[in-house]
Symmetry: C2
Subunit: 578 residues, 2 copies
């Protein structure tokens, strides 16, 4: 708020100045009292000035008794998971009533560090969606791989005073907290000094470890798995998020732990939501609707998705429909199934009937384009020489990101190199460092992907986002890698040395400025091709599965650019079995 704005709002309220807009006859959702009331809402300069009264407006929209709901807030998301640039992401989610997101640019910062953060800030500056950021706390995620950047406490100090950076992003390194890692505490201190939030990430921890973690005043958690865990975290002062992502979904489970007593400490988030999920189901409204179907009162659910998130993150200019707040809201027919018919941000209609009215302005991703620094690459480098034909094999488990492991016997050629056997579902997996031209290539063997012939490669490979490629044939794999380098990142499929189809992700190898519709169309078609042409197992998502095979914090065997990694033993192991 500023005094000049306050003056204008008061002038409108007192009838001395004409409002820009009036939403008349709206059944306003009052999240403070958790009730609704019929009124007119007057807006000037993007803010709400007054309710019903002796006020004039230049333009009036008759809501005809429909519900006017405060703009929804996604309390934690990674925009990168949508494959969309911030502007295309805005176009995708705003029609569903999401008007504010708190995003952790953890993925792109793993690729490009502060340049990535600066790009994300700039690219979301002048778009309808309000985007706030948390400074990623864990870049890189582990020391067992090479990411594009290392962000230390000193880097946090350089940016955290930005008013759009609300604090420190999800603190995944809970061992660093409970065992006293100096760097981790220096990062916490940056947030403490500014009284900014610290997002948590504490799957399955409990008892005194949870005490220790929360004693550091970690503000939120979005990794609860049970109603009991929710209550234990709320008890320690955390705001807990009900998450409805594409892979991780816990609204229906966690909602059973929410009651009148603790509902003011519960928020909604999407975390990682793929573009197809957004297009087909919606965004935060989908989670809210699901919670309502599970029995949560609509007014409680809406308060959680609006006021609570605003309170948690200190966003005092939003989260409700009241004088002095931003005119971010939407009209909907039903309160128990939020399907926004008309969405307003700062008092301007921005989406109607599920479609954006005008596309958000695109920001050229200068410093985060073409980030493919791969040296010395050739098919030759994919050769996997083995000293034994008994190997450790990564076993894909459908439906999750955890892998199994097995010991298998494989074919070798005269030089001792692995040879693909079409009768056996064992493929070669490679992770190629792409950030610093180190020439690092990690190689391993993997089963469960199903592909009989060809290669699939992507530059989305959590959390370091090196290139990951799977294939039956070194030549196809090399073509796929080279195609990604040419595209500046993306997903590609190759067969018989020919590129079948690609999805270009030119922004840091993670995102594109194509529209959600285009991205969804491409991905849908690629899924069909993967199954029809490459015979990838229909039980798995050919691309998302691949993205998680390089993540060395999720059991059991994973591959990084520095080699095969045993997550349980927390060390690298050879491909040859003991």
């Amino acid at each position: 708020m500023t005094k000049d704005l306050a003056r204008k709002l008061v002038d409108v309220g007192m009838g001395r100045l004409e409002a820009d807009l009036c939403i008349a006859n709206a059944e306003v959702v009052d999240v403070y009292n958790r009730t609704t009331f019929l009124t007119d809402v007057y807006i000037i300069d993007g803010f709400i000035a007054a309710f019903k009264g002796k006020v004039r407006a230049r333009e009036t929209i008759d809501a005809k008794g429909r519900y006017l709901v405060p703009g929804l807030i996604d309390a934690h998301c990674h925009i990168e998971s949508s494959h969309l640039s911030p502007s295309a992401f805005s176009d995708a989610v705003v029609p569903y009533g999401t008007t504010t997101v708190i995003a952790d640019p953890h993925e792109i910062c793993n690729v490009a560090g502060l340049d990535a953060l600066d790009y994300m800030l700039k690219a979301s500056e002048n778009i309808p969606l309000s985007v706030f950021y948390m400074f990623p706390s864990c870049v890189p995620a582990t020391p067992f791989e090479n990411a594009g950047a290392v962000l230390l406490a000193g880097d946090i100090e350089k940016r955290i005073d930005n008013p759009r950076i609300l604090g420190l992003g999800e603190m995944m390194n809970y061992p660093g907290i409970v065992y006293g890692d100096e760097q981790v505490y220096d990062k916490l201190e940056s947030a403490y000094k500014r009284k900014k939030n610290i997002d948590g990430h504490s799957p399955a921890i409990e008892g005194n470890v949870l005490d220790a973690y929360t004693a550091c005043r970690i503000t939120t958690d979005h990794e609860c798995a049970t109603p009991e865990e929710l209550r234990e975290r709320v008890r320690r002062g955390m705001y807990v998020m009900l998450r409805q992502g594409t892979a991780c979904k816990n609204v229906t489970t966690l909602v059973k732990g929410v009651d009148e007593g603790n509902s003011s400490r519960v928020l909604f988030c999407t975390d990682d939501r793929q573009p197809q999920s957004i297009e087909r189901e919606g965004h935060i409204n989908y989670g809210v609707n699901l919670a309502i179907k599970e029995g949560l009162s609509p007014l409680m659910a809406i308060s959680m998705a609006t006021l609570n998130a605003a309170t948690c993150y200190g966003l005092s200019d939003r989260g409700a429909i009241a004088p002095g707040l931003r005119a971010d809201f939407f009209l909907t027919e039903k309160l128990d199934d939020l399907q926004p018919e008309e969405v307003f941000i700062l008092g301007k209609a921005v989406a109607r009937g599920g479609k954006i009215i005008r596309k958000a302005p695109h920001t050229v991703p200068e410093k985060v384009s073409g980030m493919m620094d791969v040296k010395d690459f050739s098919a030759e480098r994919l050769k996997l020489k083995l000293s034994s034909d008994r190997v450790n094999c990564i076993d894909i488990i459908p439906g999750g990101v955890v892998t199994g492991r097995s010991i298998r016997c494989v074919k070798r050629d005269s030089e001792g190199c692995f040879v693909h056997d079409p009768g056996m579902d064992i493929l070669k997996l490679a992770v190629i460092e792409r950030h610093h031209g180190t020439g690092n290539i990690g190689l391993a063997l993997i089963s469960g992907y199903g592909m009989t012939d060809g290669a699939v490669a992507t530059s989305i490979a959590h959390d370091s986002h090196n290139i990951i490629v799977i294939g039956s044939d070194d030549e196809d794999m090399a073509v796929a890698v080279n195609e990604l380098i040419r595209l500046g990142g993306g997903i590609t499929m190759v067969k018989n040395s020919k590129v079948l189809m690609s999805h270009r992700l030119e922004i840091a190898g993670l995102m594109t400025d194509e529209s959600e519709e285009e991205v969804v169309r491409t991905l849908d078609e690629m899924h069909e091709v993967a199954e029809a042409e490459l015979r990838v197992s229909p039980e798995i998502d050919p691309f998302m599965t691949l993205c998680f095979m390089a993540l060395p914090v999720i059991p059991e065997l994973k591959l990084t650019d520095t080699g095969l990694f045993d997550v349980t033993a927390f060390k690298h192991i050879p491909n040859e079995a003991e």
Copy 2:
């Protein structure tokens, strides 16, 4: 929070470091979930480290299953109303479980401006009670009197960055807001720039005036009179306070407007609570207990008096019992009648069985002592010359601070001066400017006080706190005024030119560093003397009534140092009736 403290808390939680204290077997009130649970609470360096677990402690207190309740927060009070210095106030309220207050030093700042604020800050620095302040927004309250200081926006800028100043104090000047007073908006801007709170004061306003007032993002209101007003204010984003002061009490009325939907937006406060009320009834716990008696669930009421206040004022280190928070709490037998048996602040026992364990350290009130700059005073100056014997008379109305008015015929002497008639209940009232030696004296006539013989004077006279004196005889009145000047402020009673008894208020003429017990004993005795010796009407409080006779914002006739004031017409009028 700091990283060093966080480290220590974690070390205790992980069993690597011994805690200072363990409160064992406590039924902890979990205000986040609104439930209770049996646990042990471990404390180090004044903060809570962990619950039950493999933790050691140097000292253990067995709670034997009693309830452990977070320290109560008074969301709005004027310490001056207790007549006690901050340290004596701490001693008085801490035994009732109040561990934090948000105080508006409006009264003392009317006397001594920034010096007063600095004194209040310093005097509450090293006492058990946490005292935060709101910068008084309306000093002086009106331009129709001379206060000791004028505080402008520039003064606010000088102090508002102090972390113990949480924002702008109760904005009583609502006409200034709705009619666009420049100075008022400059004051608001000081709070806006720091994202600090602005306390409200909006009795009876509604509709578009309330819209305009709340559009300025006024954060709180403690002047609601009905459940409907409460809901209307909450609807506009205000936190509403249930107030239980000595004169203004609305817990029992307002609690009917609180429900599961809006309870997270409701707080408790005392506003103005006299020392006798504190000693006989309690402090915030009294309001909480009253709300519970009226049907509010104990857990909801406790959450309102703790977590909600902490959330509203951004006090993220308190408001609950959880790891990482201050160890401010108390043990009590019953949850539906909070009678603290042992109170802890920063993990130290500070009160037991309703008594403070060790008195809080006193700060010498250097710059705010002996503030009695009265020039040219003598009984002579109290002469009230009238050009007619028909006069405007202030009529005291028992039980409130509003006055009536009447036209009366009085006796005059040969010079035309008013003469007291023992058969007629009309006394002389004088307000003597005491801040700048202006020599201003306002004179008027008043009925309803009942006194037959003598004089009563006090330096508490809202809001400018000049000396106010009432009497039947100029000589007695002069003795009373001179006694106050000698004492440096207080309350005094005089008869036959002799001081009967005095209550010394040496700190700015408003407060004393005597203990609450001493003050209550003195005041009780003075009440008896006033009735027995001076024959003050038993229907009124002889001192509180007097304190409000100079407040020119409450109808109908009042007296300031510049003369008789018609509050309805908002102008001075002569003593002679038309």
